[in-house]
Amino acid sequence: MRTKTLNLLEMLVLPALILLAWHWSTVTGAVPSIVLPTLSAVGSSIAGQLVSGRLQSDVLISVSRILKGYGLAVVFGLAFGVATGMSAHVDRFFGGLFRAIRQIPMVAWVPLLVMWFGIGEESKVAVIFLASFFQVLLNTIDGIQHCDKRLVEVGKMYRLSPWQLFQKIYLPSALPQIFVGLKLGLSVSWMAVVAAEMIAASSGIGFRINDARALLDYPTVFSGMIAIAVAGVLMDVVLSLTTRACMPWERSESHG
């Protein structure tokens, strides 16, 4: 228990130092407040937005876009990934196209998607989908294809059906890699939603940052960035806990 507290303290040292340096440099006037707002200005901006509910609603709008786009990406990425990983035919049919499309950076999609879907919900969801789909897809394919063939041989020896082979051998062996894809997908989803909202949107946390920048309201820019970081970490923690729950064997340590 004591080491746990110490470990936690150790993690907090650097953030605390940064806050301290920030506070000191702005309060003494070493850095002008137009470049870096004071900690208290950012704090009161966050507090004010929390009281008015604007910060929550901004974050909520962005998060709900992520859930839609990322959710779709997970469903399609896993489905296509498993099919492509398990079947050489599917791999040959879709593989080339997928590998070509993924080379296009997600920001390059934005103008096209805005033209197709306007600046409403759909274009944001589409950008997030495109950004995270390939992360999930390619990692799933990779995980399935790198399954240990010797374990597959064991499955064949015990005469497992193709479905049982998938369920008992290919899928669990691919899980670590699949979760890497899910994690990467989630983090690019955040990047994608904020970028899309900054380029073309009338709501969401990315819009708020861009709007505040235009009004030279830097405390709000900072509060938006902090909100993104906090929400991103929270979602990442949820995903990490899910990962641990799905792979209990990864936690077991060797004592051999």
């Binding site: 010797r150 374990l151 041989e153 064991v154 064949k156 020896m157 015990y158 005469r159 497992l160 049982q164 008992k168 051998i169 669990p172 062996s173 899980l175 792979m247 209990p248 064997w249 077991s252 340590e253 060797s254 004592h255 051999g256």
Partner: protein, 256 residues
């Protein structure tokens, strides 16, 4: 004793650059019910390929393999194989691994059978552990339990103790003899450890290298338990070893 397994005129070759690579050439072997036959030879002499053909994981290029007069064409419940690596599934607990070959049976029955064999190899306490938590010797014991749980008539062992330390190896060799005592299983084992061959075998098959051919079949007429240090034991060891110790060619220091 009645004939259990018959290998008749089996050859196996693989296509390779510039022709075919012949791995096995005209192997004839008859294994009696309850007999332990140990095949020794250089690594790469095709002994593992022979086992895989008996297991039904590969098919011979020509010739036939029959079990109780029925040709072997695919893996079957009457044969299981133990590999050099334990090949336990990392995501399953030990008991689930041992029950792995019993897919079709009701759960209670599977677990009961698995417990019985875990007990036989002395791993009852570890049924909820994951393979990563076990030592190499314990993992190989679990693999033996998995192979026995399906009650095979023929057990195929592919250098099963090659990666273990000497003491663990000797333990597991006794375990194998114990299994034969209890279950009257017919065994075909492949090894490059001549001591192991003399200790376990009723007959030793000496195979030559590239292509794999049977050089000699040596019946080991020693009582059991066998004494590793005895003169008779050493006589057999020497006799097998002589196949591999080629007379040295005289080397000249100078060629004039």
């Amino acid at each position: 004793m009645a004939e259990k397994l018959r290998v008749e005129g089996v050859s196996k070759s693989f296509p390779s650059r510039g022709g075919t690579l012949s791995v096995l050439e005209h192997i004839d072997l008859s294994v009696a019910d309850g007999e332990i036959v140990v095949i020794v030879g250089h690594s790469g002499c095709g002994k593992s390929t022979l086992l895989k053909n008996i297991a039904g994981l590969e098919r011979p290029t020509s010739g036939s393999i029959t079990l109780d007069g029925t040709p072997i064409t695919a893996p079957g419940p009457d044969r299981t194989m133990i590999f050099q690596e334990h090949r336990l599934l990392p995501w399953m607990t030990i008991i689930d691994n041992v029950a792995f070959g019993l897919q079709g049976l009701p759960k209670a029955e599977r677990l009961e059978t698995a417990r019985h064999y875990l007990d036989l190899v002395g791993l009852s306490e570890f049924e909820r552990a994951y393979p990563a938590q076990l030592s190499g010797g314990m993992s190989q014991r679990a693999a033996i339990a998995r192979a026995l749980a399906t009650k095979p008539e023929v057990l195929l062992l592919d250098e099963p103790f090659g990666a273990l330390d000497v003491l663990t190896k000797m333990d597991l060799q006794d375990e194998i003899l114990n299994v034969r005592e209890c279950e009257a299983t017919t065994m075909v084992m492949v090894t490059h450890d001549i001591d192991e061959a003399v200790y376990l075998a009723d007959r030793i098959v000496v195979m030559s290298n590239r292509p794999g051919k049977i050089e000699e079949i040596v019946p080991v007429e020693l009582g059991r338990p066998r004494e590793r240090g005895s003169a008779d034991f050493a006589w057999y060891t020497k006799r097998i070893l002589n196949h591999f110790l080629k007379p040295r060619e005289k080397k000249f220091d100078y060629v004039i």
